[in-house]
């Protein structure tokens, strides 16, 4: 594999792929490390934010207070009824007009977090409805406040039932970080596009980036399955 062979391979495309592709990947692989790290950071922060948004929204929706219910309804309606890409553009390109200027990373986290929150809210709400009323009543009857009964008695039980659906949602968030390539975040997708445009090897590099995404989502699913089993031991 001489350097001239590599050059020929890159120009003649698939015909000499066997000779050149591994070399190319070896050369460009280091660039995927920081890009992966960006995806991990954005994903973790977005997922945490989506859980927070989802929890607040679910509690608001089940609170029985219209002043809390209506804003929550509006949030769900808007976020679930519009494309994520539109929301990303709205936050990154639109908000500066109102004087709210976010750097691409922050805008990306906010967009994915707020978007995910709407889906998490429905998952948590379903979980809350799945806990028998008597669980909270017995806590209240013992003198616990609303918050104590939620935090100590109801939500720990909700967590257990929502682990599988929440895992799917978190995996979506990881995958959706690819959309942030459109707002100049050098995450995996944008990095791959840049590399492909100079190597003309879309097949190899999109396969490679797929494997990296797969590794991340697989780690997530294995981790969540472990969490599910750990919570199931009790009962």
């Amino acid at each position: 594999m001489s350097s001239s062979g590599q050059d020929i391979a890159s120009y003649s495309g698939m015909y000499n792929a066997v000779d050149g592709w591994w070399n190319q990947i070896e050369v460009y692989l280091p660039l995927f490390v920081p890009a992966s790290w960006v995806v991990i950071q954005v994903s973790v922060l977005s997922i945490v934010l989506s859980w927070a948004c989802g929890l607040v929204c679910a509690l608001a929706k089940t609170s029985g207070y219209r002043v809390l219910q209506y804003p929550a309804e509006f949030y769900l309606w808007f976020v679930r009824g519009t494309p994520l890409l539109t929301q990303i553009f709205l936050i990154y390109f639109g908000l500066p007009q109102l004087g709210i200027r976010l750097d691409p990373f922050t805008a990306g986290v906010v967009a994915l977090g707020v978007n995910g929150g709407a889906y998490v809210a429905e998952i948590i709400r379903g979980g809350l409805l799945g806990i028998p009323q008597g669980q909270r009543e017995s806590a209240l009857a013992l003198g616990m406040t609303y918050w104590q009964s939620m935090r100590r008695i109801v939500l720990p039980q909700v967590v257990r039932i929502i682990i599988p659906p929440i895992t799917n949602d978190a995996a979506s968030t990881i995958k959706n970080t690819s959309l942030l390539s459109t707002i100049t975040i050098m995450e995996l997708m944008l990095q791959t596009q840049v590399i492909v445009s100079s190597t003309f090897r879309p097949f190899e590099f999109y396969i490679l980036v797929s494997l990296i995404y797969l590794a991340m989502t697989t780690v997530l699913m294995v981790g969540m399955r472990w969490a599910e089993r750990r919570h199931a031991i009790a009962y």
Partner: protein, 265 residues
Amino acid sequence: MPDAATAESPILQLRGLRKKFGDLEVLKGVTIDVRQGEVIAIVGVSGSGKSTLLRCVNLLELPTDGDIVFDGKRVPYESAGHVFSSASRDISRLRAEIGMVFQQFNLWPHKSVIENVIEAPITVRKIPRAKAIADAERLLDSIGLLEKRDEYPARLSGGQQQRVAIVRALAMKPKLMLFDEATSALDPELVGEVLALMAKLAEEGMTMMVVTHEIHFARQVSDRTIFIDAGLIEEEGPSREVLNNPRSERTRQFLDRVLHDRGVE
């Protein structure tokens, strides 16, 4: 734990208590005095409002009208139910003084037996964990379930679960215990152990309001029986009188039916 000084003053007074669910009036003005150490049985057909009455006492249901006076203080239930209001703290404080035992036990499945018992003393009464555990172990020992302290509720029989639920309420050292059909969900062979524990509590002087279909239990253990019919008190008096020689025709019909059904079993 009866206090000699207050033995004669009512611990709980219900005055003209009403409760509406939409257009349906379930309680139509109920007045009851409960004295310290008294055991009151509340009987009546399903849907007569007896469970609602009990749930109004600790405000799991908010009355539509009437007064609740507990331990000499009127309960400001009108402002309850607002999560953010300061009155909701008063309500929580009131509930901490009143134990309740539910038909479905309602133990928390994600917590072990001992954790179920120490949860409220620690989070509500702010009792140090070590002391809460010691108290809980003593209580569990008194009902013969100490060796189950680390089991989860799902591993206990219905009767054991209900006895743990009673102990969980007792751990708060309540001044009044409410029993809402505590044995109705139990298999027949498990009813006895729960009734025995309730009888023991009554004997020790606990003030109790017991909604029940167990007429024999009411006759033997309760001082007074109140028969509720269609949201009103139809008849009340010493349990032996009400349950042996009811004055009201409706009470008589009810007792005939209940006792007959039990006899056929």
